[in-house]
């Protein structure tokens, strides 16, 4: 049932009557995500400089195997090709969580696929299937990545805790706080702000209900997730930038380029 008569003809890519800097936002997203993707891939394949004392970078947490005291299983399995790093196995989950995130989907559809490049701006392609069929119908798996992302919060919180224990010089451990401890702790805080404001979580904790009044706990949970969800984009960017900085910080310590100052 199309409307009677023809609506305006489709505009070509980038064509618009807008006279503001509509290209600025998709360009910023394109540059920001590209920097992260290049950096993350470099670090995943580097397979080195991922720990410093009690600090473990989030890119390699949990460290499934290796010779490090952080490793869950000591040594490298013989059957494993040398080029596979532990980060490759675990980063599938947080990467999948971000890739299927409702905020990021809208952002990268615009910035990378021009679908559309910006609101009321002409598109690149004629054909459009949206998320109605393959391949993008797979985005509906988002809630399963959420479950893993929540598990990762506990793992990273444990890493932050371990980052509070330093060698005491007598073979034992003593409590302390270094700049790295704060960096690791903030990483958990920012990732929690992002993960716990997830649209799928908002649905699962109470959004599926039509009547809240009989479920006070669910209503409270829904309110809390909604509160974070209202700033989901900000949490998404802050946590993305900070997880990259956390990795950079630990790697620079491991390379001996930076010094970790002890505060306590």
């Amino acid at each position: 049932m199309t409307p009677a008569g023809a609506s305006a003809a489709r505009r070509g890519f980038g064509q618009t009557s807008r006279n503001d800097a509509w290209w600025l936002q998709p360009l910023t997203v394109f540059i920001g995500l590209s920097i992260f993707l290049v950096y993350a891939n470099f670090r995943v394949f580097q397979n080195a400089y991922f720990e410093f004392g009690g600090y473990l970078t989030p890119f390699y947490s949990p460290l499934l195997w290796g010779d490090s005291p952080h490793a869950w299983f000591q040594g490298v399995p013989d059957w494993l090709p040398r080029w596979i790093s532990p980060a490759m196995v675990i980063l599938v989950f947080p990467a999948g969580f971000r890739f299927t995130c409702y905020y990021y989907r809208g952002a990268y559809y615009k910035a990378f696929w021009g679908d559309p490049p910006a609101c009321a701006v002409g598109e690149l392609r004629d054909e459009f299937r949206g998320e109605n069929s393959l391949p993008l119908i797979v985005q509906n798996v988002h809630r399963y990545f959420l479950y893993f992302a929540i598990a990762f919060l506990f793992l990273l919180a444990h890493d932050a805790w371990k980052g509070m224990w330093f060698d005491d010089g007598a073979g034992g451990k003593e409590f302390g706080i270094g700049v790295g401890t704060i960096v690791l702790t903030l990483n958990v805080v920012f990732l929690s702000g992002y993960t716990l404001g997830c649209h799928s979580l908002r649905h699962l904790v109470g959004g599926f209900l039509d009547v809240f009044s009989g479920s006070k706990g669910r209503k409270k949970a829904w309110d809390c997730v909604t509160c974070l969800n209202e700033h989901h984009m900000k949490w998404a960017w802050i946590s993305l930038i900070w997880v990259m900085f956390t990795d950079l910080y630990v790697s620079m310590l491991a390379r001996g380029e930076w010094t970790d100052w002890r505060i306590l």
Partner: protein, 248 residues
């Protein structure tokens, strides 16, 4: 204090048309609709423009001002760069009747296809119900909609891809959300959301939210929660299994 400004207004019919420049004097406090009325009064008496309340509540004066869908009555000239011509054109998603007036009747037909409100049995013998405020807070946001169809205009699924046969657009997802999440409603619209309403076409650009003059968070509060209900029903194997085992 008066200022000179040029309004580049699209003139034409469904057969075609072109922009015409109308230089005119504007004064402090004017909105775009005032300028269009001034052009009508002084230079183009036959300029077609639909309007009614001039208060952002009737949703009649939808148009595209400098390329963005807006209510003309709520767009202040002081917010525009008047050193350049201000373009005013009809909404792109629906067929032009004349000048700035478009035929939006497709929306009325779509609305008729959506399953209507079906309340549960009345709570009391006098035929009334009781609802808690916290149960209706969520749907009250959707009911702010004034049906200006700016969201329908900016949605690229309709605007660029002309999926009018398969996709109902953000306005009607908001409408379905208002019904589907209503505490009294007993109807089930989840299957038609996926099949007939084409919610899967939405790729969450949030443009509908950007242009909504009532500041309804259409994407976050209506479309995504509905998408999640569709996921519950059709794409979550655990939920599907749970429903098969326990019947709910």
């Amino acid at each position: 204090m008066t200022t000179k400004a040029t309004f580049r207004i699209w003139r034409g019919t469904k057969e075609g048309g072109e922009f015409q420049d109308f230089p005119t004097e504007v004064t402090e406090g004017m909105v775009v609709l005032d300028a269009v009325h001034k052009v009508q009064a002084e230079q183009a008496g036959d300029l077609a423009c639909r309007w009614n309340c001039k208060a952002g509540k009737c949703g009649s004066c939808s148009a595209e001002v400098n390329g963005m869908p807006k209510l003309m009555c709520m767009t202040r000239l002081s917010d525009l760069d008047l050193s350049k011509p201000v373009t005013i054109e009809p909404v792109q998603t629906f067929p032009v009747i004349r000048d700035l007036v478009t035929d939006v009747s497709w929306n009325y037909e779509v609305k008729k296809r959506i399953k209507p409100f079906k309340p549960r049995k009345p709570d009391f013998e006098d035929g009334t119900w009781r609802m808690h405020q916290e149960d209706v807070d969520r749907v009250q946001e959707y009911r702010k909609c004034i049906e200006c169809y700016l969201c329908q205009d900016v949605c690229h699924v309709l605007r660029d891809h002309k999926k009018h046969d398969e996709f109902i657009g953000p306005r009607f997802f908001t409408y379905v959300a208002a019904l589907e999440m209503h505490p009294l409603d007993t109807e089930d619209r989840v299957e038609e959301l996926r099949e007939a309403n084409g919610i899967g076409y939405c790729n969450i650009t949030k443009c509908c939210t950007v242009v909504c003059p009532e500041h309804i968070k259409i994407t976050d509060n209506a479309i995504i929660p509905l998408k999640e209900r569709v996921v519950d029903r059709f794409f979550d194997p655990v939920k599907i299994l749970f429903r098969k085992l326990f019947g709910k």
